[in-house]
Amino acid sequence: MTARTRAAAAELPISHREAGMPTPLVGMLLFIASEVMFFGGLFAAYFNSRASYAGVWGPPESAPELEILPIALPITIVLLASSFTMQFGVWAIRRGDHRAMTRWVALTLALGVTFLIGQAYDYTTLGFGLSDGLFGTVFYTLTGFHGAHVFGGAVGLTILVARARAGQFNARHHVAVEAVSIYWHFVDLVWVALFTTLYFLR
């Protein structure tokens, strides 16, 4: 600090911006952009593999065909429902109702865990594995990394529930809830794309 700068000081001390989107939310959106590109890379591998595959595209001969029932479609519905419950939780805390928010977020967590358990059970019934040919590789890589992201989201939801019960959220200060909800919707959208690609588009 010199006499020059002191003499010329015409501005207030630095104050951080309060207008516009809260910084943690900006950070979460940017992080989600990078995750979109990560799944984009995996999807690119899927489509490139699909396009250059010479044989019949699907599970190996020894395994049954991929079916949306009894597991894949129900867990999709479970995950979609969890997005609704998450959003109800966000709306609740925006109104200031942190008890309702806590209930909705806990329900979202339960639905997310149900999805993961269902996915794991589905893996045991498929009849093929990661090392059973190209389709097995791309199928397990894509769904496995999606599941890992759901798990990460579940961890985030657990932290939200813990903080909510400690009374840390109110109508004006709840950016963490908003951030986790955006992440959760993203994870759900990726699943919709995955489910459509793996089970329908093939």
Binding site: T23, G41, N48, G133, T137
Partner: protein, 554 residues
């Protein structure tokens, strides 16, 4: 808005400097950590380059066997790109960007620290391959099937993949930090179009990192799955496609080279105006050219794959040639900045002008390679090695040294010695051209890259020997630089806030800055607030008596 101090975690007892640096979340310290760490890796990768050049000086295998040689050039490239040139420029950006926008720190200080600490651990993971049977040895681009489990058994490649995943995660977190900081933490008056060009180039660079690096992560995970878990992504026998790796790698790899060069272009755009005593010519054109380069960089990746026969040549050739246009705009703007300026050839200015000339050569050889017929002959020859070193080294590394000499006084309150700096520059410049210019001719004569030896009757011996001499001259040029560093730390010339009469906000605070950067900020009404501050009395003086502008500072 009250309260600010958060209680120190362990109370206020004296701690050692080790703890201080280990636990810091201050962007200035983290920036210095980045820079020191990167220079250490620079020295390591430089030694590996000397191994390569020593072996290639004359025909015959004199020093190393083929496996060791392959590891040497692989690790040289990997370390230089991922652990030196990108992190060192991120380090300068970490230090300088918050200062340039008038912010007290980055948006997410603890995440900033994580981004740093992943670097040395990731780098050590990559290097530890040497201890367990050999480091990765398939070229820094790690093409399949050579990098698959069949041809590269052993831990080296797996360590490369895992270590680089850590480094990549760190860069992605860092890019989130930079973008959030630039959009949310600018001081009042610092609109987007009043930001210094260095901040703009870091913004575009961070966006490229954010969008490209995850694709590399996906590819590296796919390769790990193939290598270790029985996957078939790249296995032709199972219906997979080895060229898929090239697509995924280069979709990341091409934006990566713009990640390497854009910050250096930003540095040059800061240095040239200060030492020409003229504003940067064409500020807005610069901004739009930078953004255009960012966009276009995602559309050219397959120009690295022309010879596979599996890519649509006309599109990628056209887009590659197109990206030369915004780059050319920048070139002309820099030259117009110099034109009729009052040039002072300080060391940072020398490196910046060196950047202009060397990057121009690298850019021209790049445009040559963008033409498929030419590329068919020159792909995987030493012509490509020449091109990439002219842009990476002649471009980015010159930019790194310009940044070092320019911002060292701000970071440490002392100016590096000019005479030693000029000796460093002279040896560096001559050594660099001696090392890499002959490689253009070697490539045209057909010398392939990534070979450990060549025939004595090929006629390549003289140029290789010349190139090796150049490489050793570059290595020697580091010595005056190191001597300069040590001598300056011990007893260098102390400087105040603004030793260079700079334009941007970092020169409006002390050298080094206080903990939260600014006690007060000057008024911000243009992209040159410190210049405006220095000349704020001009209008009055022009009306009154002929006084020199500014206060009576040094």
């Amino acid at each position: 808005m009250a309260t600010t101090t958060l209680a120190p975690r362990f109370g206020a007892f004296r701690r050692s400097w080790v703890w201080d640096w280990l636990t810091t979340v201050d962007h200035k310290k983290i920036g210095i950590l980045y820079i020191v760490n990167s220079f250490l890796f620079f020295l390591a990768a430089g030694l590996l380059a000397l191994v390569v050049r020593s072996e290639l000086a004359v025909p015959g295998l004199q020093f190393v066997n083929v496996q060791t040689y392959n590891q040497a050039f692989t690790m040289h490239g990997t370390i230089m790109v991922f652990l030196f040139v990108v992190p060192v420029l991120s380090g300068f950006a970490n230090y300088i960007v918050p200062l340039m926008i008038g912010a007290p720190d980055m948006a997410f200080p603890r995440v900033n620290a994580i981004s740093f600490w992943f670097l040395p651990v990731g780098g050590l993971l990559i290097f530890s391959g040497y201890l367990v049977g050999g480091a990765a040895a398939e070229g820094w681009t790690l093409y399949t099937p050579l990098s698959g489990a069949a041809y590269a058994p052993g831990y080296g490649t797996d360590l490369w993949l895992v270590g680089l995943t850590l480094v990549g995660t760190a860069s992605i977190l860092g890019s989130v930090n930079f973008i959030a900081t630039i959009f949310k933490m600018r001081a009042p008056g610092k609109t987007l179009f009043r930001m210094p060009i260095f901040v703009w180039t870091m913004l575009v660079t961070a966006t490229l990192i954010l969008l490209a690096t995850p694709v590399l992560a996906a590819g590296m995970i796919a390769l790990l799955i193939d290598r270790n878990y029985g996957g078939s992504f790249f296995d032709p026998a199972a219906g997979g496609n080895p060229v898929l790796w090239q697509h995924i790698f280069w979709f990341f790899g091409h934006p990566e080279v713009y990640i390497v060069i854009l910050p250096a272009m930003g540095v040059v755009s800061e240095v040239l105006p200060v030492f020409s005593r003229k504003p940067l010519f064409g500020y807005r054109a610069f901004v739009f050219a930078t953004i255009a380069i960012g966009f276009l960089s995602f559309s050219v990746w397959a120009h690295h794959m022309f010879v596979t026969g599996q890519v649509f040549l006309p599109f990628f050739a056209f887009m590659t040639a197109l990206i030369a246009v915004p780059t050319g705009v920048k070139m002309f703007n820099w030259m117009a900045t110099l034109w009729r300026g009052s040039i002072s050839l300080t060391t940072p200015m020398l490196f910046a002008i060196g950047f202009l000339t060397m990057f121009l050569i690298g850019g021209i050889s790049g445009v040559m390679l963008s033409s498929p017929p030419i590329d068919f002959h020159l792909q995987d020859t030493y012509f490509v090695v020449a091109h990439l070193h002219y842009v990476f080294f002649g471009g980015s590394v010159f930019g790194v040294f310009a940044a070092t000499y320019y911002w060292f006084p701000k970071m440490f309150g002392r100016r590096l010695n000019e005479r030693l700096g000029k000796i460093h520059f002279a040896m560096h410049f001559i050594g660099f051209n001696l090392a890499f210019f002959p490689m253009h001719e070697l490539g045209i004569q057909g010398m392939p890259r990534r070979i450990s030896d060549y025939s004595a009757t090929a006629g390549w011996t003289e140029l290789n020997l010349l190139s090796t001499l150049g490489a050793f001259l570059i290595a020697a040029s580091i010595l005056p630089f190191l001597v300069n560093l040590v001598a300056t730390f011990i007893n260098g010339e102390r400087v105040g806030d603004d030793p260079w009469e700079g334009n941007t906000l970092e020169w409006a605070t002390s050298s080094p800055p206080p903990a939260y950067n600014f006690d007060v900020l000057p008024p911000i009404r243009s992209e040159r607030p410190v210049f405006d501050l220095r000349h704020r009395h001009d209008a009055e003086h022009l009306a009154a008596e002929p006084h020199p502008p500014g206060e009576g500072e040094a």
